[in-house]
């Protein structure tokens, strides 16, 4: 075995092992630099894995040489590679863009600890994406969640503490539900390995424990993924977290839960439960639809830009859940594409918010009036990412909305009302984004000062590269398309047309 064969393991080990080293650096700047380098290295590994997946594929990695299903196996397919790109990309974006903002939010003495927790969260999220068995997914999920709670509570805003407490309670309930479901499956099949589980479930098909397990796992993960109405932890956690942390978690943490949901419901249950597609569709689509419409409507009434974008995230999770619930090839394609494109748009938007707060000190609307004239570069990037969020042609968001509408139209009888809901929700997105854009360009700054005050050039460059990525993947969507195609094929295993 040469080093290239160990890529799936390295993806987890690099951030996990760098975390204690970073904690030992007793200096905020060095710790940040260490964390950034580790995050960049993970991003590099994710790119290498993506290239390998699109080429010859990545062979199953047997941890310590113990062969699956007995040993721990790591699997990387198109969907995992997509998640790895998202997670490591969002972490790098948050760390690279967050230096100034984090220096203000985090006490210098505690900074090494904070960056250590960041890397542990990154390792956990990467671990979920590569793990090939249900219990390792649970452990990595808890590793990443515990570290994320620390990141959210690390800022100076005391409201973050009560927000994170709620997140901790709900996140733990979700993870425990997932564990109960895994227990039931283990009881019936005697295996934890995803591939082995899918094979062995065929013998105990349609038994009650398996149906109960599917219910526990789906609801547990829906709690973690903040599918409406299980989203109550999300808006406050996103709003009061340090801005750089919001860039990181808003782009990827809920998507990772959706990833596990897809793995279980399609990789494991779909071929084995006769009524699975009906049960799953009937459960998830009404929730997704109410999320799409209500969360978008609630977003219109927010007076804080971070809270508005957080409610928008709940609505976007609704789109992903809707597409995933269709249980068709086109639907799964749309779900994966939207995960990618939404992470891209939301990461950019929160990065712009970080820049706004860096110069003005607050994320409330009243404070940000006229910001478009004071920070024209950042605001322009915000508008581009906003257009991608709405789904305007030429941006990444359009590609996934297009796939979503095509997938929905394929549903007999449901097509037209669902398309109407999607279009209505996109219009609502236009409304809530326009409220901010209007305020930013035509509003009067609170102190009447309209002088220019941009963030430093490196941060502005980063914001603009993120914004341009939104346009790039709107015009050249081959990469996410190829990954989603490969992911869909593994998920469905040739079961559906």
């Amino acid at each position: 075995m040469n080093l290239a064969d160990h890529l799936p393991a390295l993806q987890v080990i690099v951030p996990l092992m760098t975390a204690p080293l970073v904690i030992l650096l007793r200096n905020g700047f060095l710790a940040w630099l260490g964390a950034l380098l580790a995050s960049l290295a993970s991003f590099g590994l994710a790119i290498l894995l993506t290239v390998a997946v699109l080429g010859a594929g990545v062979p199953e990695y047997a941890m310590g040489g113990w062969q699956p299903p007995f040993g721990i196996s790591l699997n990387v397919d198109g969907l995992s590679a997509l998640m790895l790109l998202l997670v490591t990309g969002a972490s790098t974006l948050g760390l690279a863009g967050g230096r100034l903002s984090l220096r203000r939010d985090i006490d210098n003495r505690r900074a090494p600890m904070f960056y250590g927790a960041w890397l542990i969260a990154l390792a956990g999220l990467c671990g979920i994406a590569v793990a090939g068995d249900a219990f390792n997914v649970f452990v990595f999920m808890e590793i990443s969640s515990l570290a994320t709670y620390i990141l959210i509570a690390a800022g100076r805003d005391r409201r973050a503490l009560s927000a994170v407490f709620k997140y901790l309670i709900i996140g733990t309930i979700g993870a425990t539900f997932y564990l109960i479901g895994v227990g039931f499956i283990y009881m019936m099949t005697g295996t934890l390995n995803f591939a082995d589980m899918a094979l062995r479930l065929a013998d105990v098909i349609e038994t009650r424990p398996i149906i109960i397990a599917a219910g526990f796992i789906t609801i547990g993960l829906a709690l973690k993924a903040a599918v409406f109405p299980l989203h109550i932890w999300l808006p406050r956690a996103y709003t009061y977290a340090p801005n750089a942390v919001t860039v990181f978690i808003a782009a990827c943490s809920t998507k990772v839960a959706i990833y596990v949901l897809l793995r279980f419901n399609y990789g494991v249950f779909h071929g084995n439960l006769l009524a699975h597609s009906d049960l799953f569709t009937v459960f998830i689509i009404p929730l997704a639809l109410s999320g799409i419409l209500l969360a978008s409507a609630i977003a219109i009434y927010q007076g804080n830009i971070k809270k508005m974008l957080a409610f928008s995230s709940v609505a976007q999770i609704g789109y992903i859940a809707l597409a995933a619930g269709l249980a068709t090839h086109a639907g799964l394609m749309a779900a994966q594409l939207h995960m990618f494109n939404h992470a891209l748009a939301k990461g950019t938007l929160f990065l712009c918010v970080l820049a706004f707060v860096l110069t003005t000190g607050s994320a409330s609307f009243s404070n940000l009036a006229g910001i478009g004239r004071r920070m024209p570069w950042t605001m322009a990037a915000f508008v581009i990412a906003g257009l991608s969020l709405v789904g305007v042609p030429g941006t990444a968001g359009f590609v996934s909305k297009w796939y979503l509408i095509v997938a929905v139209m394929g549903m007999p009888g449901w097509g037209v009302p669902l398309v109407m809901a999607i279009i209505l929700s996109s219009l609502l997105a236009v409304v809530y984004l326009w409220r901010f854009v209007e305020l930013a360009y035509y509003g009067q700054p609170p102190d009447g000062d309209v002088s220019r005050m941009e963030v430093p050039l490196p941060l502005r460059t980063l914001i603009w590269s993120a914004a341009l990525a939104n346009i790039y993947f709107g015009l050249v969507p081959q990469l996410p398309l190829a990954l989603a195609e490969s992911g869909t094929t593994t998920l469905l295993g040739g079961l559906l047309p």
Binding site: F135, E142, I150, S162, G183, Y186
Partner: protein
């Protein structure tokens, strides 16, 4: 006999519901953490119960004993890990409660929420 045979599973379900009920109904944050611990313990019990084999002993191979029957060690190992996760969650939760008490001077959820609304 069947009811008694499933005794542990009943305890699992009852503990799970006690934990979940207390999580939802209690306002005191320390009590919420306790409820969370009960909730998780129920799942530990569930896994340990399923690993039991009739007449089985601890999974240690003894010299000179043929056809030894022992309980399935895998769920026990899983739960060892899950207990560690549970303890970390409890510790972190209590640490957050301490910080909340420092900032707000109370550990009652509704009072904290009211103070948040004012600010």
């Amino acid at each position: 006999m069947k009811l008694l045979g499933l005794f542990n599973y009943w305890v699992f379900a009852v503990l799970l519901m006690i934990g979940l009920y207390a999580l939802i109904s209690k306002q005191n944050l320390v009590k919420k953490i306790m409820a969370l611990a009960i909730f998780q313990s129920a799942v530990f019990l569930f896994f340990i119960t399923m690993s039991r084999v009739d007449e089985g002993t601890a999974p240690i191979i003894q010299a000179g004993v043929a056809n030894q029957i022992f309980s399935n060690p895998l769920p026990q190992v899983l739960i060892l890990t899950a207990i560690v996760v549970g303890i970390s969650t409890t510790a972190l939760g209590l640490a957050i409660v301490v910080r909340l008490h420092e900032e707000y001077g109370t550990v009652e959820d509704n009072e904290i929420l009211a103070m948040d609304r004012e600010s």
